[in-house]
């Protein structure tokens, strides 16, 4: 490990410049729960660490006309403790709550979880299912992108040198909406998903599904937004047949590897099971509001 420079600028432009100058050796730092572990494990050797927590907009939760925005560096526990946000997006909270321990979540952020770009990140499928939008800043100004466009492969993102996510904007929630995230791990906690599934759906007054998004984690090089699974739900009462069809679509979308965390066959088989269970929880939540 060589000497690491630590910077904590207060202006987004300063952060972008530092990162752009560093090229590949710059690392965005929010909670640090991945960055520090990776440095100690000698997996990365950054030249400069750019702490973004002093930059306006990277922390905290705000609401405007029912639509939430939260800072990319907002600690998981802050989201979990926010009554309005957690009751509006219980599925996102399901994902956040599964990250590490309480101590880890005291620092770990959704922005960090997304940008660490692990296919098995727990909050990412939930955010994709929610339809969250990233507010990105960088050397060429500000832009937005849906969460599903960020991760391009294990450890790789579509963010250009100097770009980082400042905050996430969540869509306004129609009535009868519900989301859920579930993962399969051999242990109850402190583990990495073998399969993860986020489901978000909206029903009309008759209980027919009018909108849905289904996302899978840990079954491909990136978290997936599974269009065929979405199609299986929309226009249905989310009954057994629809759920079975959605599960089959999930299994069909899987492109996993066999590794120390699970075999390819096992992941494909259980993706349907976990997605279905997540959908059942999302359905129950949608019916409740």
């Amino acid at each position: 490990m060589d000497d690491v420079r630590y910077e904590a600028p207060e202006l987004p432009d300063a952060a972008s410049s530092l990162l752009a100058e560093a090229g590949g050796s710059g690392k965005v730092f929010a909670g640090g729960t991945d960055v520090m572990v990776q440095i100690h494990a000698e997996l990365i050797d950054p030249g400069v660490i750019v702490d973004i927590k002093n930059i306006p907009g990277t922390q905290g939760i705000s609401e405007s006309d029912g639509a939430y925005t939260f800072g990319a560096a907002t600690a998981g526990m802050v989201l979990m403790d926010h009554e309005g946000f957690s009751s509006t997006w219980p599925g996102v909270i399901d994902g956040v709550a599964l990250i590490g321990s309480i101590q880890v979540k005291g620092r770990a952020s959704v922005g960090g979880n997304v940008c660490n770009a692990s296919p098995a990140a727990d909050s990412t499928p939930a955010m994709i299912a929610a339809g969250a939008i990233c507010n990105i800043t960088g050397p060429s100004g500000e832009r937005t992108a849906p969460v599903e466009d960020i991760v391009t492969g294990p450890g790789k993102t579509s963010l250009a040198d100097g770009e980082f996510i400042v905050s996430f904007s969540m869509p306004k929630r129609p009535p009868h909406s519900g989301d859920a995230y579930l993962r399969l791990t051999p242990r109850t906690e402190m583990d990495i998903a073998v399969v993860g599934a986020g489901v978000n759906l909206t029903l009309d007054d008759d209980g027919t599904c009018t909108a849905a998004r289904v996302s899978l984690g840990a079954v491909a090089p990136t978290p997936l937004l599974v269009a065929e699974a979405t199609d299986a739900l929309i226009g249905t009462k989310v009954d057994d047949a629809a759920l079975t069809k959605m599960g089959e679509a999930c299994s069909a979308a899987c492109n996993p590897i066999s590794d120390k965390r699970g075999t390819k066959e096992y992941r494909i088989k259980t993706a349907a099971v976990i997605a279905r269970r997540a959908a059942e929880i999302a359905l129950e939540r949608a019916r409740e509001n």
Binding site: L184, R187, T188, K260, R261, E265, T270, V273
Partner: protein
């Protein structure tokens, strides 16, 4: 000095004041507050940081090592390789030990040390490791023990020949030894059987899961004195083995044990200590080596993986008529799996007449195996109790009744030749049958498993001193490491014997220069053995106290009795004297006669065997194969619980370690022979929310060889665990798993098989 414990003095009707209560551990608050000093917590002036370069290959010839660039790096004070250690013949105990801490001709596993550096900072030490050039010739490797036995398997040591096999003298092999253990007439036994069950099983190596990584500091002075501070279960064994591989007299190596952050058998052999010593010698500075978690997994030993077949027969009334086994134990690149425990313990607790066991120890290109709680027995009991469960089902007999039918009684002579005194196996089974858990029906959709286990429990060489201070308080010096809270139990036994409050006693684990040889803390021996020695030492002090009281009163010695911490006149005839407390006598006589101390060393014998019964309920997820343990009860004969809360902790800890071994823990190697899950993230030990509260029922059938009747309690708790969980899963899904760990993908496959065969129970 020899023992005055002619007889233990065990009195079942004695009214105990302290033994059996739960005082706060004297070392507890320091641990809670972060004050306790563990292996990594020693700091010496000018100390250097030691780091180890490890082989990335599972099997490779080391053609050359060039350390010149590392040596030239500013801040690097010494670099060592195997060339810095005395030559020791390969295949001898010292030869194996020195090669395991530093590879010599060959690197034999991923993580095998090949060089080490000491530098002024961790950063420089890590840079220096990158500058060491090792020229490897990579060789084919073998990790699976069954593959390692095949005729075309890569050979680890060209000199190795199998012990115990005729005609093996000229055959290269990875099999160190074949061991056959027999009793009665096995063929006649199977002839007698109405039902025979035969199954094959396998298990993966199991990490002990201690939280504290190995850490040590060594200081080699210019006059050849060596001070070592380290976390160890075996300070005296470390000293003697360091002496053996370094050719240095024992009296010049002083090992001071630190607090231990868990060992469970994993800290019975050294890793960084000899390297720190040689780095310190070369640098003329003290050197500290603390392993990272990754190094703990890659470089230190778990317990053996296994592959084996169990065959047993019984009559329709449940009497077991024959039991046979063929077993393969996976060692690392050197012998030392302690596999011989398995034949002696696997069936022991059942009164069997006809037994035939063959066991092999096989070398492989993985970390040298080490001890772990009841080494090499729980993973075999997984199969034994599986077969027993199946036999009980076939004859439709209650599983506890089946075990009771075959249970050993007092006076049983074991397969290894010992004849037992009073034992509590039958009482333990009866208590299990009566307990609330067993009487409560299994919940719908769940399964229940029963299993039993035995452990020998040990004694062994133990030395300690008990010193009375001038104010009458007590300090105890012991050389047997406290790995699980033995200090408070030792304090309690001393206080009970001396009739004083437990707070007036403190125990210290001293260095190897301060006492005679103490055996490793292993075999559930410590509270038992140190307890014997300390009671003996206390009795010596009491004899001296009586002598001095007699002198103060000017009466004959037999006119003084000692009771409730006081010397009193034996009768009114002796005279009317105020009783003298320990403090009174010490205050009055220390100046004139010197301090009062009791010192004892013994090779302690008389350890009483331990037995446990487990009752486990599980819920298995039909669609993912994931198992939740929903209820767990352990019934165990503890002889006498000195500190019951501590015993409960031991029992719960053993059960939980077994749950991890049963469900998820395994070493995963890639095709390249490299360990893939070197850390707690992917080596899946249970977390707190993975296990229910483990209920414990302590049975106390005293061991009369001990003054308070105690038996070892540390190892029995893990013996039946995986078998009980396996039997419960089998009960839940219809087919009993035979491969450890019973991880979700494996269990899901079994569920699908059970459905296909029409035996699935959900």
């Amino acid at each position: 000095m020899a023992s005055i414990l002619e007889e233990s003095g065990f009195d079942p009707s004695a009214e105990l004041k302290i033994v059996g209560t739960n005082p706060v551990k004297h070392d507890g608050l320091d641990k809670v507050m972060g004050r306790a000093k563990f292996g990594a917590d020693a700091f010496l002036p000018g100390m250097l940081v030691g780091k180890i370069l490890r082989s990335p290959h599972a099997h490779a010839n080391i053609k050359s090592i060039d350390t010149s660039k590392a040596e030239a790096l500013p801040g690097v004070k010494s670099v060592i390789t195997a060339a810095d250690f005395p030559e020791k013949k390969a295949g001898t105990p010292a030869g194996d030990m020195t090669r395991n801490v530093m590879a010599r001709e060959k690197a034999l596993y991923d993580g095998h040390p090949v060089a080490a550096v000491a530098a002024t900072s961790e950063k420089i030490a890590k840079q220096a490791l990158k500058l060491i050039e090792v020229d490897y010739e990579v060789l084919p490797h073998v990790i699976d023990p069954v593959e390692a036995m095949q005729p075309d398997a890569p050979i680890l040591h060209d000199y190795l020949r199998t012990k115990g096999v005729e005609g093996a003298e000229d055959k290269q092999t990875n099999v160190t030894e074949k061991m056959v253990t027999q009793l009665g007439d096995i063929d006649a036994g199977f002839e007698e059987a109405d039902i025979i069950v035969e199954r094959s099983y396998d298990s993966k190596p199991m990490h002990q899961g201690y939280i504290e990584p190995q850490g040590c500091i060594a200081d080699y002075s210019e006059d050849g004195q060596i001070e070592v501070w380290c976390c160890t279960q075996a300070p005296f064994v470390y000293r003697d083995r360091l002496s053996a591989i370094l050719d240095i007299d024992c009296n010049k190596i002083n090992v001071q044990q630190s607090e231990l952050g868990g060992g469970f058998g994993g800290k019975t052999g050294f890793y960084g200590e000899p390297l720190a010593i040689m780095l310190s010698k070369k640098a003329s500075r003290s050197v500290k080596i603390v392993l990272s978690r990754i190094e703990v997994f890659r470089g230190t030993g778990p317990v053996s993986g296994t592959s084996y077949t169990i065959k047993m027969g019984c009559k329709k009334d449940g009497t077991i008529t024959a039991a046979s086994a063929e077993m393969i134990f996976q060692s690392g690149p050197y012998a030392g799996s302690m596999y011989f425990n398995a034949p002696n313990a696997m069936f022991t607790r059942y009164d069997l007449k006809n037994v035939d066991i063959t066991a092999y120890e096989v070398l492989s290109n993985r970390q040298k195996v080490a001890s772990f709680r009841a080494p090499c027995v729980p993973q075999i009991v997984f199969g034994v109790e599986g077969v027993i469960d199946e036999m009980a089902r076939k004859i439709e007999m209650d599983p506890i009744d089946f075990r009771l039918k075959n249970a050993c009684e007092d006076g049983h002579t074991t397969i290894y030749g010992d004849t037992w005194g009073p034992i509590g196996f039958i009482e333990t089974l009866k208590k299990a049958k009566e307990c609330d858990h067993y009487k409560t029906p299994v919940k719908p959709g769940e399964g229940r498993g029963i299993s039993t286990g035995f452990w020998f429990n040990r004694g062994g060489e133990t030395a300690a001193s008990l010193n009375l201070a001038p104010d009458g308080t007590v300090t105890i010096a012991t050389g047997t490491a406290d790995v699980a809270g033995s200090r408070i139990s030792i304090s309690m036994m001393a206080a009970e014997e001396l009739g004083i409050p437990v707070d007036q006693v403190r125990v210290k684990m001293v260095d190897t220069n301060s006492l005679g040889f103490n055996r490793v803390t292993a075999g559930s021996r410590t509270t038992f053995s140190v307890g014997m020695v300390i009671v003996d030492s206390a009795r010596k002090c009491i004899a001296e106290l009586r002598k001095r009281a007699a002198e103060i009163w000017d009466v004959p010695e037999d006119g003084v009795i000692f009771e409730d911490g006081m010397c009193r006149p034996a009768s009114a005839n002796v005279g009317d004297f105020e009783p003298l407390s320990i403090a009174d006598i010490c205050k009055k006589t220390t100046m004139s006669h010197g301090a009062i101390s009791g010192h004892t060393e013994m090779n302690v014998t008389g350890a009483g065997p331990g037995f446990a019964v487990n009752i486990v309920d599980v819920k298995v997820d039909e669609n993912t194969g994931r198992t939740d343990v929903t209820r767990y009860t352990v019934v165990q004969d503890v002889g006498k619980a000195i500190h019951p809360d501590q015993v409960v902790g031991q029992i719960q800890g053993g059960a939980i370690q077994g749950v991890g071994w049963a469900l998820n823990e395994e070493y995963i190697y890639g095709e390249d022979g490299r360990l893939q899950n070197a850390g707690f993230l992917d080596y899946r030990m249970p977390v707190a929310s993975d296990v229910p509260m483990v209920d414990t029922i302590m049975v106390e059938v005293p061991n009369p060889a001990h003054p308070f009747g105690l038996r070892g309690v540390g190892e029995v708790p893990v013996v039946p665990t995986m078998a009980a969980v396996g039997n419960a899963i089998g009960d839940a899904i219809g087919i009993r798993p035979t491969s450890l760990p019973m991880s979700p993908p494996k269990v899901l496959d079994i569920i699908e098989q059970a459905k296909a065969e029409g035996v699935y129970k959900g």
